[in-house]
Symmetry: C2
Subunit: 366 residues, 2 copies
């Protein structure tokens, strides 16, 4: 018998007896998101999950009997970097239900999901690498996570802690069909557009975004638009639409000069680019519009037509009103046809992303 | 081992073998929502749920081996109204996992939840009667649905199919704390405000809302505001805040003359009231504002301060832009503090409500 996602997996309100944690967790990556996750697990009053290890590029620890949060960092620091060819077989032999969290951006770690899932180990990840790669690979991971004892959780790949993926899954599972999705999927870009609208130069806005941690340390990762294309692919696939990278139409956010600039040349390249952004923002404002970088996904006989580009939207519309580092996902379906279902809010940040990962772990543990 | 809510409970994409339905369902009420639910279940290609009966005020059928959707209506029509003192014991003895759906507004049916849950039968309901009553009763239902084999699902009591309740549960389960919720919880009122803003008289707008099925057949149920107070209580409780009906502060939407008018006198009473609505809408428009009926829930040391009243909001804000029959729920928490998490969309309608009920059934079945 299983547990509905509609009740609290953790912290029952009644005086239920303290139960043995029902899920063990191994965490790859103890940086922003991984660190926040470990703190959140430690902070739960009656956690149904228990940490049994962690790995970083510098060291790793795995103890089947559990590791206290206090001991974890020291044990990782004392040991050698993990050898995945030895660690994965050990995790697969773990004696109790186990979930592996991938809070890295590592291609190598994303490469072990299939072996883990096939062996009954659940995988929960905010990393987009596996889900946004070839669609056939995503299907294999999803099928492994849907047919055996293991679960594959990728809720936090889009919108961080916002309930986007599971809403799409719920809609389609009940027989609804997604017609289209329009989405602003980058908190960084929402912030940059907002600053440019206020008259700030793009180069200064990028510097602020980096300083505040909104942008990646190398802001070209945000400005290339590749991150948004990946999220759009994942959204389309979560909506049960076929979508391959090569078919996505993109209109670049910045020129090749910015995309290919070396870190030293980036400020100059941004200054040159910034003028065009400011002019575009002014022209839009004069028409009562604002510029947003919008991913549009349209269903076409089971396939997704994906278009990612800067779009002029009415200032007095949900897209036009986006502020801060908010994301907006607007879902139109057969049932939500007259007016879409909209989810809006901060779509990035270690705490909300970690909370999204934790909620997937709690659902597996329940 | 259990199933995460983050994957499809239904329709695996791989060639998984057809499994025996893992949950049987008995439906009270076969009107708008109950009827849509039965159609949706019949429409699923590989439904993990099976209908074993239904009851209305006119008749009922219960067959432990299952009832086809085609036979159901005729069997109900041929039989006598249910005697709950005999039907409930029969349902409790059902040989397989069973969920009872209450798609009625019946106080009598809401009275059987506790016996069902205590006996291991799950309950899923869009009816607000049990959840918005005394808080102690809601706690008992929630605890019964969290500690045994049975589940208590009330997602569709607020916002119909919008993912509101489970979002609040996910936030609080992962250690986040709700600070405040602001919500427009009535599609009918959103529609009426929109019409009055366009210069339509309130009495005409109400007539349109009834004709289109937005309002209850007796529109006084919408205009009294009691429906919104109930939803606000449920939201507060889902956010783990104590909230009792007697503590809710409300500023009425209409005068006692409307609330207590007989159906024949209602049009006259509405005409008298309408002038005040139109004047209020005009005055707000002159200030760049709009009037919305907003429930504000503020956390205060574990208790909810609930305030429900007409509020002037900026026209260029999510509340100001609400159209059609949309609901908006704006959740501010420790983690979503700088900018709230917002969920917006049609918050009523048989199809989206039934889909919400079905998704809870699928999660129980998974």
């Amino acid at each position: 018998m299983t547990t509905a996602p509609f009740r609290h997996p953790a912290a029952p309100v009644s005086g239920a007896p303290l139960a043995q944690p029902s899920l063990d967790v191994f965490v790859f990556g103890t940086g922003h998101v991984g660190g926040a996750l470990l703190r959140q697990i430690a902070g739960l009053s009656r956690a149904p999950v228990r940490v049994v290890g962690a790995a970083t590029t510098r060291g790793h620890v795995y103890r089947a009997s559990g590791v206290t949060p206090e001991a974890l960092a020291a044990l990782v620091a004392e040991s050698a970097p993990p050898d995945l060819s030895r660690l994965v077989p050990a995790l697969v032999r773990h004696p109790r239900p186990l979930a592996v969290v991938d809070a890295t951006g590592s291609l190598e770690v994303s490469g072990i999901y299939e072996d883990l899932l096939a062996s009954g180990v659940s995988v929960v990840t905010p990393s987009k690498l596996a889900c946004a790669g070839p669609q056939a690979r995503f299907y294999r991971l999803r099928d492994l996570g849907a047919s055996g004892p293991a679960h594959f959780g990728y809720e936090t790949t889009v919108g961080a802690g916002l309930p986007v993926i599971r809403t799409l899954q719920t809609l389609t599972a009940t027989g609804d069909r997604v017609r289209s999705i329009r989405a602003a999927l980058s908190g960084t870009l929402t912030f940059l557009f907002g600053e440019v609208e206020r008259g700030i130069a793009l180069s200064d806005a990028v510097a602020t975004a980096v300083a505040r941690g909104y942008a990646e340390p190398d802001p070209r990762d945000d400005l290339s638009g590749e991150d948004i294309v990946r999220k759009a692919l994942i959204l389309a696939r979560a909506a049960r639409l076929h979508a391959e990278r090569a078919e996505v139409r993109t209109v670049g956010l910045v020129s090749d000069a910015v995309r290919t600039a070396s870190p030293e040349d980036l400020p100059d390249a941004l200054r040159a680019e910034g003028q065009a952004w400011s002019e575009r923002a002014c022209a839009a404002a004069a028409r009562g519009e604002r510029v947003r970088y919008v991913a549009t996904i349209t269903a076409d006989a089971g396939r997704a037509q994906i278009d990612v580009r800067p779009l002029a939207v009415p200032a007095a519309s949900p897209f036009g009103m986006l502020g801060g580092t908010d994301n907006l996902i607007e879902i139109t379906t057969d049932r939500y046809a007259a007016s879409p279902l909209r989810i809006m809010g901060p779509g990035a940040g270690p705490d909300v992303t970690a909370a999204g990962v934790l909620s997937e772990l709690l659902a597996i543990a329940a």
